[in-house]
Amino acid sequence: MLTLKSVAGGYDDKQVIQDMNFSVFPGEFFGILGPNGSGKTTLLKLISGLLPCSDGSIQLDNQDLQQFSTKALARKMAVLPQLTSHAFPYTVRDTVALGRYAHLQGVFQTWTAEDERVVETVMEQTHITGFQHHLLQELSGGEQQRVFLAQALAQEPAVLLLDEPTNHLDLAYQKDLLDLLKRMVREQHLTVVAIFHDVNLASLYGDRLLLMHGGQVKALGRPDGVLTESVVNDVYQTGVKKNPHPSMAKPQMHLIPSDYPSVTKGFRLDASMLDVQPERVTFISPAPLRTFASHGWGSGIGWNRYVVQWFDATCSADIETMGDYLARDGFDPAQTIGMVTAGSIDNTVYYFGENEAASLLTVVTVGQEGTISVWLFINGIMTDEAFMQAMMTAAEAKTQTLRELGVTRTPSIGPYPEDRIVVAALQYGPNLPGAGMTIDLGQLIHDCVCKALWKRMQSNDD
């Protein structure tokens, strides 16, 4: 166990770290975060014994760091440095073998079978056995970093310290390296203390995180607790939005550039962007919209510029055929929400509604089989919960209107029709924190959906 008790330290003329108190437990992946100049690297130098503490003490397994000889410390703790260039042409194997320095015994420091075994093992673990006779200079940055990791592991340390281990590595190498470390933490009970530059990587891999600010602890704990919007914005002096990772219970921080493209300014979403043709309805926005879509191509949460509905009596409306429609009509698949229903001419109505709080365009189409699609294009900044409330409100309004109209839907083709709802917001303009029935926006949505559906159903009766 690594314990820091009221540690202070720094360089001759400057105290960088003050009053550091924390413990790192065996088999823990401990991440250190903080803006530039917050003292991350200085802290790591103190822990690795490169700098002396000016106050307090650092203990490794209940023994003061100063009481270890350099060699004894190297058998307990290894350091993976940031990638640097090297002047001399050492082979990969020689470089890894250097990691055994602290373990060599006796006057002649003989190389034993055990040393050989360890070197072989760590080269296997880091997947560098294949190029063990190559020169360091011949390797890519990612491979070199693995060689130095192997060197550090050859020390057979209990604690491994890393200073921005993924610096200069591309995405796949970052993942490989951190996965490997994570595996060694789990399987071999290695303790890892790593400085991270990237808040999101730290969140993904760290069991606990230490967020530093001005040489002191700002927050310490599980990623969920440490990485809150307010703390991160405060420490890094920036603006981030917190979001959960799509498949892991870890928070992720998203940067919001302050100079956002000005194309979103100076226009609002209205009927002029809608193009109603007999065979398809298209909505084309000048800028990407944040969209929640219940069905079709591009469904789920995303950013899209095009919302398209094709009417095709022969369609089977699955995702694969959708690609053909997109390609045929030249829509960018990455920016399109697309859906297909069987349909007939004049089955689209739209209604533009506005009150003091917000304005929105509602588009309703009804397919031949009775499938109703409701699209809402809202001028304003919506939160995730506002999107969900908008969907609920729209669905409620639709059901209510159908009931009032006395429409009972019996499908003419196939199973019971699945209605579709798309909510799209400009994310510019007034803040719209909610869209429930008790809120202005909710009422507007309700009104618009009802009116559009009335309009559509009445025209049907004609």
């Binding site: 690795s48 001399f88 020390q155």
Partner: protein
């Protein structure tokens, strides 16, 4: 295991080649001269001396005198100086992580030169030392310079980073260099003597000079050879070496002092002979790899052989005149070095 064998084979070859080069150079250097002695006879004479066999005939006796009293000490001195400069060059390059460093970078040679040049200029002769006043004073000033450089480096930077040590060395080098220039400017009758010493020579020294350098050579090389593992780690930087378990502060000083002692002793007995300490370790590293456990011994052997050959060239090329050996090492060394550098840069273009 096959890789292990091929590695061992590589070093067997390395030592075979360098040792063969060493003995060939030595025998050639001892045989050839104003009076050329056949190789076989040279071997016989040296063997005879070693095993105390007597040689009766007259020519044999004359040749024995030439070889034992004149050639052999001269050649061996060249060997010791070459070996010292080559190994200290290798360790300075490793320690400073710079393949272009040489043994003179810490200003030790300037210190030795100031001692020697001052001895010549003021015609100093210390009783008891007599003719050996110059090498002894030179060694003393060399060691003094080394300690002063290390002391000032420590004052400037308590961690004594190598950059600080280099800078301090460079400052002292030029400072001491100005004294040498001053003495050269002031002197008139001793100019040739001083220049001759500065350019380096191993002629007319005799066995006593070998006695002067030998203890320093043995102690210095032993210390360095015992630190070859640490040097391997230090090549990756001081912080890295410390993390690998090397007591950097202690080892660094030991290595610097040992290297400086070797350099100082070599300069004291032969003058500041350039290029050996730069080119030989560089060549060895390119040929056999940078592992200091082998690089150091290989550099000693090759450096020794190289300087014996260079000395041979210097005294035979425009015989009976003798060229300064430092001129020859630079004449041979510079083009060789340029060639290595060009090849290396070409090789690197594809990579980094």
């Amino acid at each position: 295991m096959s890789t292990q064998t091929s590695l061992t084979n590589k070093y067997v070859l390395a030592y075979g080649v360098t040792v063969a080069f060493f003995f060939l150079s030595m025998l050639t250097a001892v045989s050839i001269g104003t009076v050329s002695i056949p190789l076989v006879e040279t071997v016989n004479i040296i063997g005879g001396q070693l095993f105390h066999l007597s040689i009766d005939d007259h020519i044999g006796a004359m040749h024995t005198n030439i070889i034992v009293d004149i050639r052999l000490p001269r050649v061996l001195l060249a060997g010791l100086v070459g070996g010292s400069l080559a190994i200290s060059g290798a360790v300075f390059q490793g320690l400073l992580q710079n393949p272009l460093a040489d043994p003179y970078i810490l200003g030790v040679s300037s210190g030795a030169s100031v001692g020697a040049v001052a001895t010549l200029f003021f015609n100093i002769s210390i009783p008891l030392l007599g003719l050996y006043t110059l090498p002894v004073l030179s060694i003393v000033t060399a060691l003094l310079t080394m300690f002063v450089v290390l002391f000032f480096a420590r004052q400037a930077d308590r961690a004594m980073r190598v950059e600080t040590i280099i800078l301090t060395g460079v400052i002292f080098s030029s400072f001491l260099g100005s004294f040498i220039s001053l003495i050269i400017a002031l002197t008139d009758d001793r100019l040739q003597q001083i220049m001759g010493w500065l350019l380096g020579s191993v002629s007319m020294r005799g066995w006593d000079y070998i006695g002067i350098i030998l203890p320093f050579f043995i102690i210095g090389t032993l210390i360095l050879l015992m630190n070859s593992k640490e040097l391997n780690a230090l090549v990756f930087g001081e912080a890295r070496a410390k993390h690998l378990g090397v007591d950097v502060q202690k080892r660094k000083i030991i290595i610097l002092v040992a290297g400086s002692i070797l350099t100082g002793a070599a300069v004291a007995v032969s003058g500041a002979i350039g290029f050996v300490g730069l080119v030989i370790p560089h060549m060895m590293r390119r040929l056999w790899g940078p592992d200091h456990r082998h690089l150091l011994p290989l550099s000693i052997i090759t450096g020794a052989g190289f300087l014996m050959l260079t000395d041979l060239v210097s005294r035979t090329i425009i015989s009976p005149s003798v060229l300064p050996i430092g001129v020859i090492t630079a004449l041979i060394g510079a083009p060789v070095f340029a060639l290595i550098l060009m090849k290396q840069r070409k090789g690197m273009r594809g990579g980094l």
